[in-house]
């Protein structure tokens, strides 16, 4: 009779210990999640572990790339010729448009110079490629093969040939993660190009739909209107296409209208993206200019002759620092 007793007791002991351990691990996991949610530990851990993580991303993306390469290798000659023809036409069209744009841009610079507000029209961009990795279907995020070492930083705007794609939310040494404009946690300030109505386009979570909510019922929004970034908020520069209105209807409360739009950027198809280097003009007061003038030790003695260095460096109007900033940007 000793045997069954001996056999049964470890089972129960094991079960009890197992439950306790489970509780321990669950508590640990919950603690980790809360701490991560509050402090963003994951980013730091990922940055520290990037040496191990980044090769894994490349490895995971490899089969997809191989399939892509195979497809390119075996695409028929006719398809290639067709595509070539198509691209030529598109290039011609683009070139023609570009020429027109150049003329307009020149005119614009002239007018702006007349108005004495110097601004940058050229864009400083960086070309990067997408790494084809699945970061979970619920999240519309993409991985990009440029990171902190290539000068990418959080908040940079990601665009493709057709429009705004999203913004960088996380940077590793050689890769970074961008949040697409269709992510349910993403919003972008937009303006209707036809009527000038401002709004905010939220991501819907679906890869091909944006939602512009809280439009007044009487507002002038129609199907087919193009929406572009309004530049408000200071994150996205103004004037980049965001999408086209596909549907307008009352929202669930019936108090406002709600429009859904298809994104202009080829979010699901782009292989190469552009990262905008220069930030739009910042909101709020300009940054304090570096102190010029004699060092603080000497400043006290010569106070009578020189004005205090602070006042000289940052005039109250803010006009000079902006100009200085623009100079710095143009020189880059």
């Amino acid at each position: 009779m000793a045997l069954p007793h001996k056999e049964s007791s470890p089972i129960f002991a094991d079960a009890a210990a197992g439950t306790l351990r489970l509780m321990g691990y669950l508590a640990l996991a919950c603690a980790l999640m809360v701490l991560d949610h509050r402090n963003g530990w994951l980013h730091r851990a990922r940055y520290a572990a990037s040496v191990a993580i980044e090769p894994i991303y490349r490895a995971a993306a490899w089969p997809g790339e191989a399939v892509q390469n195979l497809r390119t290798a075996f695409t028929g000659h006719r398809d290639l010729v067709n595509e070539n023809q198509h691209l030529r036409e598109a290039l011609l069209l683009a070139q023609a448009r570009l020429n027109r744009m150049n003329a307009i841009a020149e005119q614009n610079t002239r007018l702006k110079q007349l108005l004495d507000t110097r601004r940058m029209l050229g864009m400083d961009v960086q070309l990067a490629r997408l790494i084809d990795v699945d970061l979970g279907p619920a999240r519309n995020r993409v991985m990009i093969d440029a990171g902190a070492k290539e000068g990418v930083h959080v908040g940079q705007v990601v665009i493709d040939a057709h429009g705004v794609m999203g913004q960088i939310v996380e940077v590793l040494p050689h890769t970074s993660v961008a949040l697409l404009i269709t992510d349910a946690n993403h919003s972008i300030p937009v303006v209707d190009e036809r009527s000038g109505l401002r709004g905010i386009a939220h991501g819907s979570g679906a890869p091909d739909r944006l939602i512009v909510s809280d439009i007044p019922l009487s507002a002038d929004v129609k199907v087919g209107d193009r929406i572009s970034t309004s530049g408000l908020g200071g994150r996205f520069p103004a004037g980049f296409p965001v999408g086209t209105i596909a549907k307008v209807g009352p929202d669930p409360s019936g108090m406002f209208a709600q429009a859904s739009a298809t994104p202009a950027a080829a979010l699901a198809r782009s292989g190469e993206v552009l990262l905008l280097r220069d930030q739009p003009e910042q909101v709020g007061p300009p940054k304090e200019a570096p102190l010029v003038g004699p060092p603080a030790t000497l400043a006290g003695s010569s106070n009578a002759t020189n004005p205090p260095p602070r006042e000289r460096a940052a005039p109250a109007g803010g006009g000079r620092p902006v100009a200085a900033q623009n100079d710095a940007v143009t020189q880059r």
Binding site: A15, G18, T19, R21, L22, Y25, L26, L28, A29, C30, A31, L32, M33, L35, D36, H37, W41, L42, A45, R46, A49, I53, I56, Y57, A59, A60, A61, P63, G64, D132, V133, D134, L135, G136, P137, A138, R139, E170, V177, A184, N185, G205, A206, P207, A268
Partner: protein
């Protein structure tokens, strides 16, 4: 190479492979159908070699998956620890189920996992996911027999080779 070591490499290799498969992209339309590979592999090892696995190991695999996935540190660790605990608890019964019953049990496990994920996501402030969120457990169930037979086959071949 000793048998123990070869077995260990299969074990480690299958887990790493499952993490890679988790990251591997699928076409947009198929993306919601992707099974939760690390869970399937962990279920297999908990059933067949419980001395190797444990809640602690599942927790570590989950942490690794979180590091790769970059969503929320601890999310998958929690899910995999809970999953492994349930499998180890009912291991004696699950092991001797016929395959279709086992697959059904896996479906229940994966659905439970999705519920846990949903709870975590909602607490983290994410919006409520669509209906396609619930598709992955079913494809996981369909994939289960293949995962089971594949790893079993590799192990059996290795054993035959050793002797």
């Amino acid at each position: 190479m000793s048998k123990q070591r070869a077995q260990f490499w299969i074990f480690a290799g299958s887990i790493i492979l499952s993490l890679l498969l988790m990251l591997m992209p699928l076409p947009q339309t198929l993306a919601p159908l992707k099974p939760y590979w690390p869970a399937l592999v962990l279920i297999y090892w908990s059933l067949e070699a419980p001395e190797r696995t444990g809640i602690g190991l599942a927790f570590l695999v989950g942490l690794g998956a979180d590091l790769l996935d970059g969503a929320l540190l601890g999310e998958q660790a929690l899910r995999l620890a809970a999953l492994t605990f349930i499998v180890l608890r009912f291991r004696a019964r699950l092991r001797f189920f016929p395959m279709w019953q086992q697959a059904l049990a896996v479906l229940v496990l994966l659905l439970n996992d999705r519920i846990l994920l949903l709870v975590v996501r909602l607490f983290a402030g994410d919006p409520r996911p669509g209906a396609s969120f619930w598709l992955a457990p079913f494809t996981g169930t369909i994939a289960w027999p293949f995962v089971f037979l594949l790893i079993d086959d590799v192990r059996a071949r290795l054993r035959a080779k050793e002797t």
